[in-house]
């Protein structure tokens, strides 16, 4: 399912109106229109704009504060990168923070994807009393801002003596209303009823049907949800900084404690940010392939 995908195909629409005669020939030939030069230029520009902030983080992470303040600002990285990273790691427990963040984000992601898929499946395909009302309730909770729940939540966590423990960050976000709604929408459209009936006639229990039939069909949507959830969990700052301390921080909490002082040490902050971002990039590379594959599969079937 992942073989068809490649970037140029997705952006054909960008260059659509200015198709050159050469591209028309490509169109006649078959499956997918070949990309023209303009497509590549636009794609290249978009990629540049997206990558630049990351690049500049790397540049800034390899300079001293004084060099950064100079005009014009530097554009090439330096050899000081590892010194700065070393300083950042001394200043805050960034190693621990990354491990914590990986644990927290992974737990939240696995929990959210699993629970959302189960609940989404139930809402989309199982007949039970109060289905509609319950779904409305779930969707309704999306309209309640997180900030409203923070104080009661903190009181609860404090009473459980979980402050500064990772479960304080993991447990409240193990399932998300958005995830449930997202999976419901996907499954009610992508999963034919006959498939479930076939599984029932074949003797599968509901749970077995879920594992053997629903999950394989839901995989592309699960990957999208996993990536979104992982990113959100990784970047979450508000609740972790309340529930955790700098002794046992997540990455965002640790970064907040970096480069403090009378003049913020931008270089050290950037160095910390850089290593705090790398794990997310890895996740993106791993899951991104699945997602593009999923999009293509849906398109072909649709």
């Amino acid at each position: 399912m992942t073989t068809l995908a490649s970037a140029p195909q997705e952006t054909v629409s960008v260059a659509g109106p200015v198709a050159t005669p050469r591209r028309r020939r490509g169109r006649r030939a078959g499956k997918v229109t070949a990309a023209g030069p303009l497509t590549y230029v636009l794609l290249g520009l978009t990629a540049l704009v997206s990558v630049f902030p990351l690049y500049w983080t790397a540049v800034a992470a390899s300079k001293t504060n004084a060099e950064l303040a100079g005009t014009p600002p530097p554009f090439l990285p330096d050899a000081d990168l590892f010194t700065n990273i070393g300083r950042a790691m001394e200043e805050a427990p960034i190693g621990l923070a990354i491990v914590n963040s990986v644990v927290v984000s992974s737990c939240i992601t696995v929990g959210t994807v699993l629970c959302s898929t189960l609940a989404g499946f139930a809402f989309a395909k199982l007949r039970f009393r109060g289905n509609g009302a319950l779904l409305a309730l779930v969707v309704g909770t999306m309209m309640v801002p997180t900030q409203l729940a923070i104080i009661p939540l903190f009181i609860l966590i404090a009473e459980l003596q979980w402050v500064d423990h990772l479960q304080a960050v993991v447990l409240p976000t193990l399932v998300s209303a958005f995830g449930v709604f997202f999976m419901r929408q996907f499954l009610s459209q992508a999963l034919p009823d006959e498939l479930l009936e076939a599984a029932r006639v074949d003797g599968a229990s509901t749970l077995r049907t879920f594992w053997s039939v629903v999950v394989p069909v839901a995989r592309p949507a699960m990957a999208v949800l996993a990536m979104l959830t992982f990113l959100t969990a990784w970047n979450d700052f508000f609740w972790p900084i309340i529930a955790l301390t700098t002794d046992n921080p997540t990455v965002q909490v640790a970064l907040a404690g970096l480069g403090g002082g009378y003049v913020p040490d931008t270089a050290v902050i950037m160095a910390g940010t850089l290593i705090g971002t790398l794990p997310v990039l890895v996740v993106f590379v791993v899951l991104g392939k699945q997602i593009v594959g999923g999009i293509m599969q849906g398109a072909v079937k649709g």
Binding site: P192, L195, E197, R200, V201, A204, S212, P216
Partner: protein, 366 residues
Amino acid sequence: MATVTFDSATRMYPKADRPAVDNLDLEIGDGEFLVLVGPSGCGKSTSLRMLAGLEEIDAGSIRIGDRDVSDAPPKDRDIAMVFQNYALYPHMTVEQNMGFALKIAGVAKDEIGRRVAEAAKILDLEDYLLRRPKALSGGQRQRVAMGRAIVRNPQVFLMDEPLSNLDAKLRVQTRTQIAALQRRLAVTTVYVTHDQVEAMTMGDRVAVLRDGVLQQCDTPGALYERPANTFVAGFIGSPAMNVVTGPAVDGGVRLAGAVLPVPREKLARAAAGTGRVTVGFRPESLETAPPGEGVPVVVNVVEQLGSDAFLYATLGADDDGDVLHTADVVVRTEPRTAAAVGETVHLRVREDCLHVFDPVTQLRVD
């Protein structure tokens, strides 16, 4: 293998104002091939799904063998179903698709392999066992769906329009293959179709449904020879039987000024209430008569099929006061002597080929 019995089985969908299947009584013999046929929306699929356990039964009961399965879940009914769109698991190979039910039932791996291989051989699928459904043609998918049913060796096969997604030629081919396969396996089979040709060629018996109500269940020959009412008469046979109503006169029914002879006893019973009688005659049981005899019709269209010709003609309104509707009549004739458009032909019905119905109840009069 087993018999199947519908005993006043009724299904009323929530919020519907009348049952989708109404008091269905049907006995299906052991090893029999029964076809459920009827127009779209008549409740064929619903009946089948009731038997499969995918649809609740609101009243009455269904038995497989001696066992009342009305409340049993599908897996406890020992049935296998072939769906109209095949419902193959998209992420499983042909082999896994066919073996899924056995795997769930906890059958040993080599036994599964053996049974899948056997079914694949019967269905000519051996070369495709490792492919996914999306890499198969429509006909191959259809065979995989059949294979999935066969490997389970169930007591009853259920098939819901399994051929409707195939092109015409393949449909005819597969039709005979399925019928032959069923005879060979001798598994009780309930087969749903809206195509009366399929029904007539495949079924040991055919049950005709209309608006959720069973109209007649009989062998294809009997349905053709002795339709129980005008609906069955019009539904079975192609082109359909001509059904017209006219006033009863001495010796027959008056149509377009002429008298079509009807046996005295039948005429008397059919016309008892209203003085009218409904008669049916098939296109193939009409022959031309010399002018002055027979019923005159005006030819509108001539369809030459090579082996036959069909005349699409209009039966004129009655001319002396008691005006009845004009009616369209289809006539099969010899292709070489077919009449021309606009011509008037005189028709008579071959002996013993006239069906008589009560114009009010629409039921057959014998």
